[in-house]
């Protein structure tokens, strides 16, 4: 039985650009799929096709058991969409915004008002309910936008880069809201270019690049494809690097890589924490002083890099995610 969100062979072209080039998706009811990919990969186009905003050139799409192409209106009654931009009317108050959306979901005025109050409370916007959205911070606007998508508690939700441009604190807050939502049984398709975000929120991840799904699986499965864990050591003195490399090679399951300027050595291993303890003991015995040591599991950055040959990067540097992509950029330098 197909899941709450199901797509087969979705194709959408804009002129010469094949934004979607045969995308297949299957999201079981009550789970979260993270659609992960860089800008221009086709994530937004996929969401727009599944939420009736765009008509695909070919392919099948079924959302909440309803054929998207045949019954778009019925689909609209069953989905909530929260977009890349907080789509709220900035000259309306928070309450007016939610009330309007409720009424356009065909709720009676009174019911829409009651629901608006409920959501404002739930999203910690009650104090700002009667201020125009213009006065809201970025995080508050996103919360209001998300609340608007939840007015009828739709069984299926789509969130297109819900935290792009938010600072870490607001992102964390929004993640909590999303987790709460999912624990209530909502099926969610979430697009993101933040690997950390997909790791955090999604049960399954589909990696998209140039209109194709190039890999799918759980976060752990994808990481396993990239290779297992590794030990990273930063030594205190530069002259200790050769000695440390010798130690690591003794424990490693592969080649030891050295980043001279950072005094950092990395080696793939198996054996987990027990092995790490042995490495530490051996380094200590040889009198090699270390600044940092750790067992690192591959991040989704590594996954993306190994799958596509390029790093998932935000095109615009203005977003609050620089912390997440820093790792990716660093690895890119290493890869060169």
């Amino acid at each position: 039985m197909p899941g709450a969100i199901y797509a087969e062979g979705l194709v959408k072209t804009f002129g010469d650009v094949r934004a979607l080039d045969g995308v297949d998706l299957d999201v079981p009811e009550g789970t979260v799929l993270g659609l992960l990919g860089p800008n221009g990969a086709g994530k937004t186009t996929a969401v727009r096709c599944l939420t009736t905003l765009l008509r695909p050139d070919s392919g099948t799409a079924v959302v909440a058991g309803i054929d998207v192409l045949k019954h778009p209106d019925a689909v609209r009654r069953s989905v909530g969409l929260s977009g890349q931009f907080a789509a709220v009317d900035e000259y309306l108050t928070g309450r007016e915004n939610l009330q309007m959306v409720g009424q356009l979901y065909q709720m009676r005025a009174k019911a829409a008002k009651a629901r608006a109050d409920e959501l404002l409370e739930q999203f910690h916007l009650a104090d700002a309910a009667d201020r125009t959205a213009k006065t809201y911070s970025g995080g508050m606007r996103r919360r209001l936008d998300l609340a608007a998508a939840l007015v009828v508690s739709p069984p299926v939700m789509f969130m297109d880069e819900p935290t792009t441009g938010l600072d870490p604190r607001n992102r964390q807050q929004l993640w909590d809201v999303i987790k709460q939502l999912v624990s209530g049984g909502t099926t969610l398709l979430l697009t993101t270019q933040y690997l950390e975000e997909a790791d955090h929120l999604a049960h399954d991840i589909a990696v998209v690049d140039q209109g194709h799904v190039i890999a799918r699986g759980t976060s752990d499965q994808l990481k396993a494809r990239t290779g297992g864990e590794r030990v990273e050591v930063v030594v205190h003195e530069r002259e200790h690097i050769p000695a440390a490399a010798e130690v690591l090679s003794g424990f490693g399951k592969g080649e030891t890589t050295v980043e001279e300027h950072m005094r950092k050595l990395t080696v793939p291993v198996t054996g987990g924490a027990k092995l790490l303890a042995e490495v530490i003991r051996e380094l200590d015995t040889r009198g090699i002083e270390i600044d940092d040591i750790g067992l690192r599991r591959p991040t989704l950055d590594d996954v993306f890099l190994s799958l596509t040959g390029h790093v998932a990067e935000a095109k615009d540097g203005e977003n609050g995610a620089s912390q997440d992509t820093k790792g990716a950029k660093r690895r890119k330098e290493t890869a060169k």
Partner: protein
């Protein structure tokens, strides 16, 4: 499944026409609230026509020959119907800019993802603009009375003239809606909504006696939908008009004005709603 199933009740799809009316009114209310919170927009919308009334009546007043007379008072009475009509058509720019702004901010996406009547976003906007146009006309009529404009017919005819003006304004906001959906930025919608209005409102009988234009230009002016409304208003106000032309719209201006406006609504509403269905920011 608690959060997913204790959903607020969503009414079953109602009768499409009543749903369409209801949705349009919800959107119209939203736009009226917006307008009330950006009063400067309404005020600028008023200043411009008032300026035209004053400039045209005092600067041009003495040099205009209306039906063989250069009496400035006569020109003032002649002028008002033209200014009224031009003012209502300028609502086009507001409608276009508003809709382009909604596109730009992603609101149109939000609306399109909701189970609402397809044309309601645009109908709601044009209805809100109609209310604003009515207010503008009211203020303008008071200013016109202050500078000496008078009507010489009964109240029913005067109201009918204002009705035709509002209908013309409403029709033109649908052209604005189409422009707003077709351009990339609100700024482009504002200028794109205004530029073509200058030839439309000036190649007409609104400000000058069109019978004194070059024949081909007069022909354009006679058949200009805008001229029909202006001529109809002059008749209904009992204000002095231009030398009547043989063109059908000038002979039957009230009917011509009605037919033109209804046709514009039908054509541009169809085009705009079709455009809206496939709109992408």
């Amino acid at each position: 499944m608690s959060a997913a199933t204790d959903a607020a009740p969503v009414a079953a799809p109602a009768n499409p026409i009543s749903q369409s009316i209801r949705d349009s009114l919800v959107v119209a209310k939203r736009n009226l609230i917006r307008m009330s919170r950006i009063p400067e927009m309404v005020i600028f919308g008023l200043i411009q026509p008032i300026m035209f009334v004053v400039l045209f009546s005092y600067v041009f007043g003495g040099s205009m020959n209306i039906g063989g007379s250069t009496n400035p008072d006569r020109y003032r009475e002649f002028l008002m119907a033209g200014i009224f009509a031009q003012t209502v058509t300028f609502a086009t720019a507001g409608a276009g800019a508003g809709i382009a702004d909604d596109m730009h901010k992603g609101l149109i996406d939000r609306f399109r993802s909701l189970p609402m009547a397809r044309g309601a976003v645009l109908t709601g906007r044009t209805l809100a603009d109609l209310v604003q146009t009515a207010l503008t006309l009211l203020v303008l009529a008071v200013v016109a009375l202050l500078v000496g404009w008078r009507t010489h017919t009964n109240i029913g005819e005067v109201l009918a003239a204002f009705g035709l003006l509002l209908l013309l304004g409403y029709a033109f906001t649908w052209i604005g809606a189409l422009i707003g959906l077709s351009v990339r930025t609100p700024e482009a919608a504002t200028s794109g909504g205004l530029i073509w209005l200058f030839p439309v409102t000036f190649i007409s009988n609104a400000f000058v006696d069109s019978s004194r234009m070059t024949p081909w230009l007069q022909h354009v002016a006679d058949w200009n939908p805008f001229s029909a409304t202006v001529q109809a208003c002059r008749e209904l106000f009992g204000n002095p008009g231009v030398t009547p032309s043989d063109a059908w719209p000038m002979q039957h201006p009230v009917w011509a004005s009605l037919i033109y406006s209804v046709l514009i609504v039908l054509i541009f509403r169809t085009l705009a709603v079709r455009k809206y269905r496939s709109a992408t920011a």
